[in-house]
Amino acid sequence: MANLLYIFFTMVLVQNYVLVKFLGICPFLGVSKKLDSAVGMSLAVIFVMVLATAVTWPLYALVLEPNGLGYLQTIVFIIVIAVLVQFIEIVLHKYMVGLYNSLGVYLPLITTNCCVLGVTILNFTNGYNYVESLFCAAGSGAGFMLAMVLFSGVRKRVDAGNPPECFKGLPITLVAAAITSLSFMGFGGIMSSIFGIAA
């Protein structure tokens, strides 16, 4: 259990997908303008990451790997995740209208988002088993949410400021993102001390 929690919190703080691994920057910059849309997007990402891992892990371990086709993982995962997200969107629209209304707008945006693909592929690079992979995916999603929520607060202040003309818009946002990402370096090493596991 300690091992699973270790993976979860490592993904949230130390190996944060957005601020440390720099994946999923597009929605991070695009949807972080408002807190409520940042939360909606993050919930959708958590949802899709866990489901994508649940489907791709057996596919890789049972079909690709035994046949020596590990190199196909990127292509196959993209197809599978894209189909999965579209399928979930249709199912939600039909049977869970409330959930569809809150997540539906964001689902197509993350169909083939690189942080979703990144989670599924890095699960194998790290040699996680099925349960560990699911925890890793949930932690990555939660880390994405943390980054989005934190940054939507930063963004509010940045947008109210009056930077030089050449910094207005995206440039000053990227500078702010860089500083936020720098602050996450402070978490390095904290997890192995807390859980007593060598990193």
Binding site: N67, G68, V91
Partner: protein
């Protein structure tokens, strides 16, 4: 051989995905009311939020699903209301022309200034500094937060004071929400006068600050044949349910604060 197997595998995965999606789309299709799309097409698509909904599509949905009134769109006006009514099969009802009025006459030279402001060019920021650079703490600051808020180019700052072009104004109220001094109000009576001042201070102080401010002399209140004007908190306010638009108050006002909409600059 392994290449052939790889190609076959990816093809199978792709085909399987396609089949799943086609079946899902066929068997789990959700019937959407086609009228939502039709009404959205009738609306101007400005997404200004003047109707009180999140955007044009949201308003269209509200009309179809929860029976919202069809004449809420101020931008599209009567023509748009008629189109929506046709889609919904109901009577349109009158769409009232509403526009914004900046309740202040404190242009440069009319209203004195307290200090020279050199900060961020925004009324909201300036208002936090001793109530803004204008001597009158209630008047227009003139840095154009309303101009930035207006999606229709209907408002401009002339001579240090915001001015609304009533022909272009659609009455969405975005400028009203943006004004930190709350001196923009929505008016829908073309033949009834407007009080062009919001200063709640006593007359003697107003005279020192501005040559066109309401000094709470009560002449309008005393002379109004309909008792439609009341001086509340040292500034005249008109009750439009009583006002007949006779114009007596306009003649009596010594400071020329009360004006007909057509005469407002």
């Amino acid at each position: 051989m392994s290449i052939a197997f790889a190609i076959i595998l990816v093809t199978i995965v792709g085909l399987l995905g396609a089949v799943i999606l086609v079946l899902a789309a066929k068997y789990m299709h959700v019937e959407e009311d086609p009228r939502v799309g039709e009404i959205t097409a009738c609306l101007p698509g400005a997404n200004c939020g003047g109707c009180g909904y999140a955007g044009c599509a949201d308003y269209a949905k509200a009309v179809v699903e929860s029976g919202a009134p069809v004449n809420k769109c101020a931008v599209g006006g009567a023509a748009c209301a008629a189109q929506i009514a046709q889609v919904m099969g109901v009577e349109a009802g009158a769409s009232v022309k509403t526009w914004a009025v900046v309740g202040c006459q404190g242009e440069d030279g009319v209203c004195k200034s307290k200090f020279e402001y050199q900060g961020i060019s925004s009324c909201a920021a300036a208002a936090q500094l001793y109530g803004g650079p204008s001597a009158c703490a209630f008047g227009c600051i003139g840095l154009g937060d309303c101009v930035k808020a207006c999606q229709f180019g209907a408002i401009e700052v002339v001579n240090g004071k915001a001015r609304v072009n009533a022909d272009k104004c659609v009455g969405c109220g975005a400028c009203k929400a943006a004004c930190p001094k709350k001196i923009i109000w929505m008016h829908s009576e073309p033949k009834k006068p407007v009080v062009m001042c919001a200063n709640h201070e006593l007359g003697a102080k107003v005279i020192k600050e501005c040559t066109a401010g309401c000094i709470a002399c009560h002449l309008c209140e005393k002379n109004c044949p309909e008792q439609a004007i009341k001086v509340v908190n040292n500034v005249a306010r008109i009750d439009y349910s009583k006002c007949t638009g006779c114009g007596t108050c306009i003649e009596k006002c010594p400071k020329k604060v009360i004006k007909m909409p057509a005469d407002i600059q």
